[in-house]
């Protein structure tokens, strides 16, 4: 199991370095939202945060051959987003949204951990069947009741309870690999 995963990661890394479009898409889909969350906590503006993250992906793509390992890619992205966000604030002559001036700032660290925690959870949720994803989303994120979900999805309230249980079981079973 372990070896199979490693090979998959290695294969991915090769296609990333070779500049394959699909490799870019995969990386962007996984990291766009958490990086934007991270940036937004620094610059306090969603639109600006999105622009910064997009720029960082372009930069990364130009420098992809310098990356030694897939882990370096992830660190590069967070580092670049942080630096670009701070640069933006510098240009605006503003204090960061989190009132911080050093890289060792607790606010920055918290924003980064929050972004990554959300990504970890999202990665697991996205592996559930679409039906379970819908239930997770409606129940846990939109705080809808069983009855409302049943009406929305046109299923019995009892089966919402069952699906929720299945979703929870599935979330607890799935191990994320690093």
């Amino acid at each position: 199991m372990k070896t199979a995963r490693t090979t998959e990661t290695e294969q991915y890394f090769i296609s990333f370095q070779e500049g394959e479009e699909a490799a870019f898409d995969q990386l962007f889909r996984e990291y766009f939202a958490p990086l934007t969350y991270f940036a937004c906590r620094l610059v306090a503006d969603t639109k600006i945060a999105e622009d910064i993250v997009q720029d960082c992906f372009v930069l990364l793509w130009e420098r992809r051959r310098r990356m030694r390992h897939i882990k370096a890619v992830k660190s590069y992205l967070y580092k670049t987003v942080r630096n670009q966000s701070l640069k933006y604030l510098e240009r605006q002559k503003r204090q960061p949204g989190l009132q911080t001036d050093s890289s060792a700032d607790p606010g920055i660290e918290k924003a980064l951990i929050a972004a990554e925690t959300a990504r970890e959870l999202y990665q697991v949720i996205s592996k559930l069947s679409p039906a379970l994803q819908q239930v997770v989303r409606l129940y846990y994120l939109e705080e809808r009741s069983n009855k409302e979900i049943a009406a929305l999805l046109n299923i019995e309230p009892d089966s919402v309870t069952r699906q929720r249980l299945r979703a929870v079981m599935a979330l607890r079973k799935t191990k994320i690999s690093l």
Partner: protein
């Protein structure tokens, strides 16, 4: 250089903390990991604060909600306009490229917005709009060895013979003795059916498809014949291989799950493995499939490729799931499921990606496709006209 690597280390610690907090929220940590998290929290007041803030239910909701609100596909499209990619190379990756080529839409999980806007369902069913087509439903005809035909929608409970009875529209085999006889289950357009075979294997049979099987499996192998689209979850029995014959090809399994698409109007026979292992033989060739692989048989050509399983098996979960599909592919599914006739007035070159429940009137599916602005439909009776 030292500063850089120390920040690198700090980052990796933060990534690790996020992994542990994520696991904590899912109640999925091993004992060692719990201990590791404990240690991290105790390292500083700040860590404790971060842990408390991030595991608070309201804040989990807040950041997950924020996460879901991103329009990642749109932003991906924008950023890709600024990047030059090398052209697609290997045949193996055909599928991936096709999927990203012209994604016009991401319907993913979009259907419930539609449902909210709509009038209560009961009303819709009582007064169907004139320009709409109702979806398919569970229905099948069972043909016995003597030619007798049983409509499973009409006949709910009945004892057919010692080996088989119908209970609430479900066919049940009891493996009683006696000579096995051949049964054929056929599903019309606008129908589907889920069958449990005499050995306990489960089969999903899609619209315009059929399966022929014995009322009891005897002999060294378990053999069935199919047409159209079927999905198998084969009951484990290593001593009696399960063999599906389709279009002159044999697919052998021991205990496994796979999808077969053998519609004559599709690009070719497609066998896709979800779990386990299967061996495909025919035309003096053989091929073993690993999960996630698909064998495409086009006349004499065999092509092995890696695919995303979810769109292939979505129909067994009562869904349409398109991933970089052409409008022709989408409409072939529509024809079979809604028993509609599709006329193309103009060529549409975009690719479509998205998921929707199959259990909705055709207008809902078409409305979502139209929301891309790339395609337009007109429904009259059961004819659907496609244009720009």
């Amino acid at each position: 250089m030292n500063i850089l690597s120390s920040y690198q280390k700090e980052l990796e610690q933060d990534f690790r903390a996020a992994y542990l907090i994520g696991g904590f929220i899912r109640e999925n940590l091993t004992e060692e990991e719990e201990e590791e998290l404990e240690q991290w929290i105790q390292q500083s007041e700040r860590h404790l604060q971060i842990f408390e803030d991030l595991t608070d239910e309201a804040s989990v909701r807040e950041y997950m909600h924020w996460y879901y609100q991103r329009d990642t596909e749109k932003k991906l499209g924008e950023v890709k306009n600024r990047i030059h990619f090398k052209s697609a190379g290997r045949l193996f990756h055909f599928w991936k490229y096709a999927a990203v080529a012209g994604i016009a839409l991401l319907l993913l999980l979009g259907i419930y917005y539609e449902l909210v806007d709509q009038a209560p369902r009961g009303m819709v069913e009582n007064h169907p709009p004139p320009r709409d087509i109702a979806p398919g439903y569970e229905t099948a005809t069972l043909t016995l060895a003597d030619g007798q035909q049983i409509d499973l929608r009409k006949l709910k409970d009945t004892l057919i013979n010692a080996q088989v009875r119908i209970e609430n529209g479900t066919i049940l085999y009891n493996n009683a003795g006696g000579e096995p006889e051949y049964h054929e289950l056929s599903i019309p357009r606008k129908g589907f059916y889920q069958l449990v075979l005499p050995d306990g294997s489960r089969v999903w049979v899609n619209s315009e498809s059929s399966i022929r099987y014995p009322s009891r499996f005897t002999g060294p192998e378990r053999r069935v014949t199919v047409t159209g689209e079927t999905y198998f979850e084969v009951a484990k029995d290593p001593r009696h291989p399960f063999i599906v014959s389709v279009n002159g090809v044999d697919i052998a399994a021991v205990g496994t799950a796979f999808n077969i698409n053998a519609y004559p109007d599709e690009e070719g026979l497609r066998a896709t493995l979800a779990e386990g292992k299967i061996k495909i033989t025919g035309d003096q060739r053989q091929e073993y499939l690993e999960p996630g692989q698909q064998l495409l048989v086009q006349q004499n050509q065999w092509m092995l490729r890696t695919v995303d399983i979810a769109p292939v098996t979505a129909w067994t979960k009562q869904q349409f799931k398109f991933k970089g599909s052409t409008i022709e592919e989408v409409m072939r599914s529509v024809e079979r499921w809604y028993d509609a006739r599709v006329v193309f007035r103009e060529k549409v070159n975009d690719h479509f990606t998205g998921t929707i429940d199959r259990n909705v009137p055709v207008s809902q599916l078409l409305k979502l496709l139209e929301a891309t602005g790339r395609v337009h439909f007109r429904v009259e009776g059961n004819t659907i006209t496609v244009s720009h």
